[in-house]
């Protein structure tokens, strides 16, 4: 896992963003793209850079499903919640993954080695039902496939 960025590093990273220009999301994206997540310090740095308050910046971070305030797990299984996947047994896959990984949707293991995330359909419905493992589609899954996948990710298989 990368070390937490310092205030100085963060300030440098977002130095070209300006208040009142729609730069809140772009600043947050750049931080997340660089460090994998948005730290507490980052929220304060962005607030200062954009001449606003940490409350408003945090409000933005928490509003969107894909901003993170914790380091991403090394291996993330993102489960597709879309309609084609649903009709082909997606919910059974979800329950099996939650049970096998022993975590709710959105959870991660204590050591951040693996986690489970709710994903939205991106129009690869021809592979339904599917999950993404670190953004790569693993499709046409049976429930059994999903359980084996979870076991491999956990390291128990």
């Amino acid at each position: 896992m990368k070390a937490e960025p310092t205030t100085q590093e963060l300030r440098k990273l977002v130095a070209d963003f300006r208040p009142g220009r729609g730069h809140v999301m772009p600043a947050l994206h750049r931080i997340q793209d660089t460090y994998g997540y948005i730290t507490r310090k980052a929220i304060e740095v962005v607030a200062r850079q954009l001449n606003t308050t940490p409350a408003l910046v945090y409000g933005t971070v928490s509003f969107y499903d894909d901003f993170r305030t914790e380091p991403p797990p090394e291996t993330e299984i993102k489960w597709c919640s879309g309609p084609a996947c649903h009709m082909r047994g997606g919910d059974r896959i979800r329950r099996a993954l939650e049970a096998e990984l022993n975590m709710p949707m959105g959870g991660h293991s204590d050591d951040h080695r693996y986690g489970l995330h709710l994903g939205q359909c991106n129009g690869t419905c021809h592979e339904a039902p599917q999950v993404w493992v670190n953004e790569k589609v693993v499709g046409n899954l049976s429930v059994v496939d999903a359980i084996h996948l979870a076991r491999r990710v956990k390291g128990s298989e």
Partner: protein, 632 residues
């Protein structure tokens, strides 16, 4: 034509001609989100590797999608002499070596893998691509470049009439541009169908400046990926459309708001914007005309309501993507409270075609009230989940048969869902409805932005409603009690049905909620229960059946089923015990039993040991189904 633009086009055409006259065969690999899901990146790498290690002289390029998403990776091969081009399907990495050997080195076709001849004459074994059943009836206008040009190369776009529409617009007055747009009859492709020309005219007549041009590329409706195909396949078409709109309405800056789930679209749009700046097509004093226009590609971060135009603007100019109350409308007070125009990707993408070929040419393709062509994506219980562009008018059934490749084996159509989670569910007999806006409006829903999802006898209506309303609940911005609380309550009621604890009176409660949610401030809340409303119109019996009998013939309401061990001696029973992710099997004095409390109804045990496990109804049959009726 503007001289500078003409010079750009001339030079692009020369480059295009030179590329094609390289004397080497040309291999184009479709690389888009769909093909990447099916291994296109590996195919592309393998092509380069084989070409390098075996010293094969070949030009390898990347293109967008032809719409054959279920057959990716698709690849075209053009002969060195340029006499013919053939489109192939499913060129997976393991096929690459043989593929290159035959098509490039030996120069022979592989009929078994071919979809059709793109350029040149058909052979006895390979028909013209335009005669392929998937292509017959399609009119590729928006998708004309999808699959044929490199979306990362502005010269390819310029060499195919790119920015010509903008060139025409430069010679027209703003009134004339708007008149042409109005004459075309183009209606907004985001679902509403509002005349695009009228929207532009609102902005043109706005009193304040600066003005903004916003492209809604949030494509949040799950099951819809038409905008993605365009952004990944021909990004300049969208940029050009926004430039024409900006010219007509005097806007100074444009934003393309792309959903988080489409990183490749963001990348391709950003490259396209950068290249347009380099060519002087964006920025200040564009092509020496004095027209200034800047463009920003803006990434969302995962929120469905940011597809609602005012939520989208809040997401750009404020903090959280909360929809605003209308009026004021965007043309009065949009981004930073300044006049703004918001259109869908596909709406903008039509503008260059209209400017280039005229309103009449554009509208004549369809004899419907709704003009022009429309892109559709289809998924669910069909054989060919893909993307097609057709004039409005054919029936849904024709769409299934011709483009979606019919229903999957064993499926009987039960109904379909068009327009996303805020829209409705229709029964199978409505597949005779034409693909046009009015019939769906009349039923209290909308055809939507292009995604249609088909379902069969294995989907319970209560389950489908629960899925749709849960989506809306999850995506509620939280401002209106009616929406946030109302959708949560609706989910609760539907869950009771799923779990066999509902009563007849719960249907009335759902009906009450439909009335309450319409008070929500924005369309998200107002339309959250469209699915339930229409399901109660068309499938009411199924609700009663689920509630009264606690039975689910479709087999998709998992809460009404339980898993039990049928055979203690089945050789696969140990596999079932082993696969259970919930450790729900226990050994009761030599008898394997499933603990209902622990079982998560995932069905894995039944998958590995079909003869050892039974799926039973969770609840005993009711002597008097009516017992469930009455109050709570």
């Amino acid at each position: 034509m503007n001289k500078q633009l003409q010079a750009l086009i001339d030079s692009a055409q020369q480059k295009w001609a030179a590329e094609r006259a390289s004397g080497r065969p040309r291999v184009n690999v479709c690389v888009d989100t769909s093909s990447l899901a099916r291994g296109a990146e590996e195919t592309l790498q393998k092509m380069h590797e084989v070409a390098r290690t075996q010293n094969i002289a070949v030009d390898i390029n990347v293109t967008g999608s032809w719409g054959f998403c279920w057959l990716e990776p698709t690849v075209t091969v053009r002969t060195a002499a340029g006499t013919r081009t053939v489109l192939y399907a499913e060129i997976t990495p393991d096929r690459v070596e043989e593929f290159l050997q035959q098509t490039v080195v030996e120069g022979v076709d592989i009929p078994e893998w071919a979809l059709g001849v793109v350029e040149g004459n058909p052979t006895g074994e390979i028909d013209l691509l335009s005669d392929h059943p998937f292509m017959v009836g399609q009119v590729r206008r928006l998708m004309a470049n999808c699959g044929t040009i490199d979306p990362g190369n502005i010269d390819h776009y310029l060499a195919h009439h790119g920015y010509e529409g903008f060139g025409h617009a430069l010679e027209m007055s703003d009134e004339d541009i708007i008149k042409e747009m109005l004459d075309s009859g183009l209606g907004g492709r985001g679902g509403g169908g509002f005349p695009t020309g009228r929207k532009w005219d609102f902005l043109r007549n706005a009193s304040a400046s600066p003005r903004y041009m916003v492209c809604n590329a949030d494509e949040g409706d799950p099951g819809s990926w038409v905008n993605r195909v365009l952004m990944e396949g021909d990004p300049h078409l969208i940029i050009e459309g926004m430039m024409i709109a900006a010219l007509a309405s005097n806007a100074r800056e444009g934003y393309i708001y792309v959903r988080y789930e489409y990183p490749l679209a963001v990348e391709r749009l950003q490259t396209a914007v950068d290249q347009a700046y380099e060519k002087g097509l964006l920025g200040t004093d564009i092509l020496g005309t004095g027209f200034d226009f800047d463009m920003v590609v803006f990434r969302g971060a995962g929120s469905y309501v940011c597809g609602e135009e005012t939520g989208l603007m809040s997401s750009i100019d404020a903090y959280r993507g909360m929809p605003r109350i209308k009026p004021p409308f965007p043309a009065q007070a949009g981004l930073w409270n300044m006049p703004t125009n918001v259109n869908n990707v596909e709406s903008y993408a039509n503008a260059p075609l209209i400017m280039r070929n005229g309103a009449l040419w554009w509208s004549e393709v369809s004899d419907q009230k709704d003009k022009g062509t429309k892109m559709f994506t289809f998924s669910g219980c069909v054989n060919q989940p893909g993307c097609a562009e057709i004039p409005y008018g054919p029936t849904v059934r024709e769409l299934i048969e011709r483009y979606a490749g019919g229903l999957t084996e064993g499926s009987e159509l039960k109904g379909f869902q068009a327009g996303g989670p805020l829209s409705g569910i229709l029964p199978a007999h409505d597949a005779d409805l034409p693909l046009a806006l009015d019939p769906y409006r009349e039923r209290g829903m909308f055809l939507g932005s292009g995604g249609i999802v088909f379902f069969d006898q294995h989907t319970n209506i209560v389950d489908l409603c629960l899925w749709m309303v849960s989506f809306c609940e999850f995506e509620s911005c939280g401002r209106c009690t009616t929406c946030q609380g109302g959708s949560a309550r609706a989910v609760e009621l539907l869950r009771k049905m799923e779990n066999g604890t509902a009563r007849e009176s719960d249907i009335e409660r759902l009906r009450d909620l439909i009335q309450t949610l319409v008070w929500s401030n924005c369309l998200h809340g107002q339309f959250t229960l469209t699915s339930v409303k229409l399901a109660l119109n068309f499938f009411e019996d199924e609700f009663h059946y689920v509630i009264n009998h606690r039975r689910d013939p479709a087999g998709s309401l998992d809460g009404l089923h339980r898993y039990v061990v049928r055979s203690q001696t089945d050789p696969q029973l140990p596999d079932a015990v082993d696969i259970c992710p919930a450790s729900a099997f226990y050994d009761d004095n030599g008898t394997w039993t499933i603990d209902d409390e622990l079982c998560v109804q995932c069905g894995a045990c039944k998958e590995v040991a079909p003869n050892a496990i039974d799926v039973l109804d969770r609840f005993p049959a009711r002597e008097h189904a009516a017992a469930a009726a009455g109050g709570s």
